[in-house]
């Protein structure tokens, strides 16, 4: 079927036997952008700009180049990501909706930091989800990181406070605060996470130095709503996009990053400890087409 074809093909094939950009090709391009979750508005914007240059585009190579340029432009002029070792302890709070990969991403980041010889501490501030504490404890062990944990259903802000306290007294370089998944539309849960943030800055005025929002590449247009509301509540400093090892393209980050002016820092490409990479816009755009 058409669906299969478009997902497995690239622009070379759209151009098969054609010399100019015709209407069919424009429609195929539109499909390519929409099916990568780029969103209607962004797709229309890109299409409009491409259409304007249509007569000057000769052949697949040129169309590809122009398209990539257009999308790369969305990642231009974003603020520099927060450097990883600017403060000691460097406090990173990890947030996002349910099941996106927060805990796993912390595990990967912690392992990476430990490997560089930095002392890492994790605060197990998801006290709500069944066995969330056990899960992050296993990751801490894998990563060679210390963990601060309370009992199930304890106050997450208290765990965060103890985490930062322990990090200061033990001389840790980095603290990761694992938080429970919550939908951005739940007012009381968003208040709870704001309280965690306030508690961190009570103990250490600049903390958290990083508020990392985890987004799932499988998510469609709702990711924009997630990013907006977490950003309003907490001030997001960076994004991690997980599950890019599947067939979803995660195109919604294009508009999220540019609209909210937040850098995409990491991509998750699997469940293993090594499966986290720094985000590279060029590589991302290559993978789209």
């Amino acid at each position: 079927s058409k669906t299969r074809r478009i997902l497995t093909t690239d622009i070379d094939e759209l151009f098969l036997g054609k010399k100019i950009v015709d209407d069919d090709m424009i429609e195929d391009l539109e499909e390519l952008l929409i099916t990568s979750d780029m969103g209607v508005q962004t797709t229309m914007d890109i299409m409009e700009r491409i259409s304007g240059k249509r007569s000057r585009i000769a052949g697949a190579g040129e169309l590809k180049r122009v398209l990539k340029e257009e999308i790369l432009a969305y990642f231009d002029a974003l603020p520099e990501p927060v450097p990883e070792a600017a403060a000691k302890p460097h406090v990173v709070m990890v947030v996002g909706v349910n099941g996106v990969g927060k805990t796993t991403t912390i595990g990967k980041l912690a392992a990476h930091e430990s490997k560089k010889g930095r002392k890492v501490l994790i605060a197990a501030a998801d006290t709500f989800r069944a066995a969330a504490i056990e899960q992050i404890s296993i990751w801490a062990e894998r990563a060679g990181a210390e963990i601060v944990r309370h009992k199930d259903n304890a106050d997450p802000a208290a765990v965060a406070y103890d985490g930062i306290e322990a990090a200061i007294s033990r001389g840790a370089d980095t603290v990761y605060v694992d938080t429970a998944g919550r939908l951005h539309t739940k007012v009381n849960l968003m208040e709870e996470i704001k309280k965690i943030q306030r508690t961190l800055s009570k103990r250490l005025p600049d903390a958290p130095h990083e508020v990392l929002l985890v987004l799932d590449a499988t998510t469609g247009q709702n990711a924009l709503s997630q990013a907006k509301m977490f950003n309003e509540a907490l001030g997001i400093t960076g994004i991690a996009l997980t599950k890019l090892d599947g067939t979803a393209k995660g195109g919604i980050v294009v508009s999220i990053c540019s609209e909210l002016n937040i850098p995409l820092k990491y991509i998750g490409v699997g469940e293993g400890v090594e499966d986290l990479q720094p985000f590279d816009p060029k590589q991302f755009v290559e993978a789209l087409f």
Partner: protein, 306 residues
Amino acid sequence: MFDALSDKLNSVFKQLKGQGKLSEKNIADGLRAVRMALLEADVHYQVVKRLVADIKERALGQEVMGSLTPGQQVVKIVNESLTRLMGDTHEGLNLAGEKPVAVMLVGLQGSGKTTTAGKLAVLLRKEGKQPYLVPADIYRPAAIDQLKKVGGQLGVPVFDSTPEMNPVDICQQARVAAHKAGCDTLVLDTAGRLHIDEELMGELARIRTALKPTDILLVADAMTGQDAVNIAKSFDERLDIGGVVLSKMDGDARGGAALSIRSITGKPIKFIGVGEKLSDLEAFHPDRMASRILGMGDVLTMIEKA
């Protein structure tokens, strides 16, 4: 985006009311607005394309109802076809078979399988069944603990699996144990996996062969984007699923994935997850889902009154 959409709709609905038939010309704007709404709701591009073509064909030549504009009437037709497309009646779990029967949960990582297993146990117990929870996820850290805790909260027995066991063995041994414990319905919680992971998809197929579940539910996140068709297609082709649970419907996602999944597999959406609590599972209502996907609540209310 939403603003742009309602502006557009307003201009669509400013057209003269009533009189005459729906024509290529007077429905064009309405169709365009519907197309945008569906794409914004994450319905797959090809599904939207097919739908819009069908609707156009059905609409053309219809008499415009007295109180509606052609644009409104198009929305009415769309709403009706979406509702029909998603199934008219609610379908529950299929539990017909020799006891103990098994219900198997499958899906991508983090979609909500383990939580749904607990929710189904609550539902089954309400229906007078004796559920038995089976943790068959040996990969994710503390996945077995998670289901054990869920079972503990509910007072529902949970098979004592360990990460050293093989998932197929876990399920087979669990059936024997469930029978001994006087339980009639196993709920198999499998590990999250990508639909393109050959090895792990093969594992699911082996569990299916060994246990012959009477129902296999794909647990899919309501926030899923365009990839929903690929996911649903792969799981269905491999396992011949019995239905779908759409999780995390308590957020603000429009849930177009429901339509994509339904139209690509033809399988019913049986339940929706509406929260993290184990009581947060509801029957699926096609009409509510249709208007949520269309996101034209006001317009639809107006049309119903017409």
